[in-house]
């Protein structure tokens, strides 16, 4: 049995707002194996970004807080760690790429200074070595003329270039886990293809494990080995990329896949999931998807189904499949 590089157990991250407690991440279990690309898919507000911020303990507090649960990074629980110890992990063993590279790079520092800061902090290189290393990283992510770009400011670069700089920075200390939160959402398709290609090469050549958060099913199908589908703060289905796309079990996953217009086939009409994502609160009873579910049953309104293993490494949180199991027993 391989030890997962990251294992999340029953994570609850809640936000305490004027309107009450919002359980943005409501009991999430996940793991990432070494060298694997795990995709986390879901729509706005499903808790996928808050989950990733929780891993680095970057959830703004207040109003957000990890209420309970464990996050094991290489077997060590990082939830109780102090800020000082977290800083040693961030950017070193675990690093993150954000959606909007403009707001996540510091506009007052050159690209080089920002990368150099990271490597000097974690690797203790001299200024000269750090600069060479930074140039090397920029070259690695496909930035033309890295010797010149290193002294430019983020605003002088295009969106695709900025995202490359973000990636260069995040891989500068050869992380074991890279968390990419919608890394290509703000980019055009041809630039997206370049960036995805870059992340894939990192994974394949250096064995960096990647947690890829996205709402784009196309990106998931293309990049990921395993997929977790989130809805309203919970993982509703998890399995290999083939399980998820060829044999989706949860009605939400099915609805999501059916809703996407596709290039490889022609459909007269798109399927659409009726209604909207629920407003999260602790008062919700039953399955979160029940109000929109085409297969809703009485029990769905009453209590929340558990995430249960259906077949090898394919699990689903749905009463439809729980009952099948009970019948089988």
């Amino acid at each position: 049995m391989i030890q997962p590089i990251l294992k999340i157990e029953d994570l609850h991250t809640h936000f305490f707002t004027d309107r009450g407690e919002v359980p943005a991440v409501d009991g999430v279990d996940l793991y990432v194996n070494p060298g694997e690309v795990l995709g986390i898919v879901g729509e706005s507000g499903c808790g996928k970004s808050v989950t990733s911020l929780s891993i680095l303990k970057l959830v703004p507090n207040p109003p957000g807080k990890i209420v309970s649960g464990n996050i094991y990074f290489k077997g060590r629980d990082i939830v109780p760690l102090k800020e000082k110890e977290m800083r040693k992990i961030r950017g070193d063993a675990v690093s993150m790429i954000f959606q909007e590279p403009m707001t996540s790079l510091n506009p007052l520092f050159t690209v080089g200074q920002q990368i150099i800061e990271t490597v000097r902090l974690h690797r203790g290189l001299s200024k000269k070595q750090a600069r060479e290393h930074a140039t090397e990283m920029l070259r690695k992510v496909g930035i033309p003329r890295p010797e010149a770009i290193i002294d430019e400011y983020p605003h002088q670069l295009s969106g695709g270039m900025r995202q490359r700089v973000m990636i260069a920075m995040s891989i500068s200390c050869s992380p074991e886990l890279l968390i990419a939160d919608e890394p290509t959402t703000a980019l055009d398709v041809t630039i997206q293809a370049q960036i995805l290609d870059l992340i894939r090469r990192l994974n394949e050549e250096q064995g960096t494990a990647v947690m890829l958060i996205t709402h784009d099913l196309g990106v998931v199908a293309e990049m990921c080995h395993r997929v977790a589908v989130m809805y309203a703060g919970k993982v509703v289905e998890e399995g290999s990329v083939h399980d998820i796309f060829h044999n989706p079990l949860h009605p939400y996953t099915r609805g999501l896949i059916e809703s996407v217009p596709r290039m490889d086939e022609t459909r007269e009409r798109l399927y659409s999931i009726p209604g909207n994502v629920p407003i999260l609160s602790n008062d919700l009873k039953g399955c979160r998807f029940a109000p929109r579910c085409p297969n809703v049953m009485d029990i769905c309104q009453q209590s929340i189904p558990q995430l249960t293993l259906q077949e090898k490494s394919h699990s689903c949180r749905c009463w439809l499949h729980e009952s099948q199991q009970e019948d089988a027993v």
């Binding site: 099913l217 809703s259 490889d264």
Partner: protein, 331 residues
């Protein structure tokens, strides 16, 4: 032969770059650089391309929300670029627009009732009672409840706001709707609701759409014919089946190959383009795509390829399909 509703001829939109003490034009950003196309009655015409290719500028210039620099726009046998502001305002009853961002395109201080009624007031349609009835009908058509009419835009989700935006565009019973990225800000499950709604409305009211988008899968689903834009120019126009089955222009080929598909078994031969789109202030001489084209030839760096028929109903602007080699005179 289907009847055309809109004919665009040599449309241009240049923005001057003013510099220096006298603020003289030192050059132009050619946002839309000499494009021509026609849209048939009842069809959905797609305009696709990446950011900065001029697709939104084109959409707005068609309604003269942005004043075109040159060119003709024939809407039902009338060149609307020649109309005065007042005549144009009246003409816009028949040409409406739906914007991308459902958050910033609705006035936050007005109720939905007022937002939907306003176009009718502006154009003097009906009396107060008739307008109220019309607003109710509109809400019903786009799937909003009666109770929603007294609410304000911030009380709605993105998908519902887009429904309000569509209802507003429908208020004057237009013939043409320009939809500028109407679903790109929406989540997948909501996106399909709005796409289905737009298709239903088209059937019901015989609408013609110009659908501007960057998402090629959505465009394939909804459009009949598609024009691909790059750096202010149209590089290819054809019906959607031809475009997706047999793209001719190297840019279209790269664009289509770059779209990730939601099927893990498809491993596409991907053409990864090098570099980025050049600045429209400084477009390359000759073909605009020559700096990134994998099949670039000498002629591409000197002569702008015209948009010519390469197959019946399939127009491509590319020197690869030149009938006779173009002899370039070296300057």
């Amino acid at each position: 032969m289907s009847e055309s509703l809109l004919e665009v001829k040599n449309l241009k939109k240049y923005y001057p770059i003013n510099k220096g003490f006298f603020n003289r034009a030192q050059g132009f950003v050619k946002a839309v650089d000499d494009i021509s196309f026609s849209v048939n009655k009842g069809e959905t015409f797609g305009l696709v391309g990446e950011s900065g290719c001029g697709k939104s500028t084109t959409g707005r210039a068609l309604l003269r929300l942005i004043e075109p620099t040159a060119g003709e726009i024939w809407f039902e046998e009338q060149d609307i670029t020649k109309l005065s502001m007042e005549e144009m305002r009246k003409r816009r009853r028949e040409m409406q627009i739906v914007f991308q961002d459902p958050y910033s395109s609705l006035d936050p201080r007005n109720t939905v009732q007022r937002i939907l009624e306003e176009p009718m007031i502006v154009h003097g349609v009906g009396n107060a009672k008739e307008r109220r009835a019309a607003v109710k009908r509109l809400a019903d058509v786009v799937g909003l409840a009666k109770a929603h009419l007294q609410r304000y835009p911030h009380q709605f989700s993105g998908g519902q706001r887009q429904r309000i935006g569509i209802a507003r565009a429908l208020a004057l019973q237009p013939k043409l709707i320009v939809a500028d990225e109407p679903v790109s800000a929406l989540d997948v499950s909501i996106q399909s609701q709005v796409i289905n709604l737009m298709q239903d409305l088209q059937r019901e009211f015989g609408l013609t759409y110009i659908f501007i988008a960057h998402d090629l899968s959505v465009v394939k689903h909804i459009c009949d014919r598609v024009a691909v834009m790059y750096l202010g120019r149209i590089v290819e126009i054809t019906d959607k089946n031809k475009l997706y089955a047999q793209p001719m222009h190297p840019y279209t080929q790269a664009l289509l190959s770059a779209v990730p598909e939601p099927n893990p078994d498809i491993r596409k031969e991907r053409i990864i383009l090098q570099g980025e789109v050049p600045s429209p202030a400084n477009a390359p001489i000759g073909c605009a795509f020559n700096t990134r084209c994998p099949k670039v030839m000498d002629v591409c760096r000197n002569v702008r390829p015209p948009l010519l028929e390469t197959d019946s109903g399939h127009l491509t602007a590319c020197h690869l399909y030149d009938k006779e080699p173009i002899i370039t005179r070296l300057a």
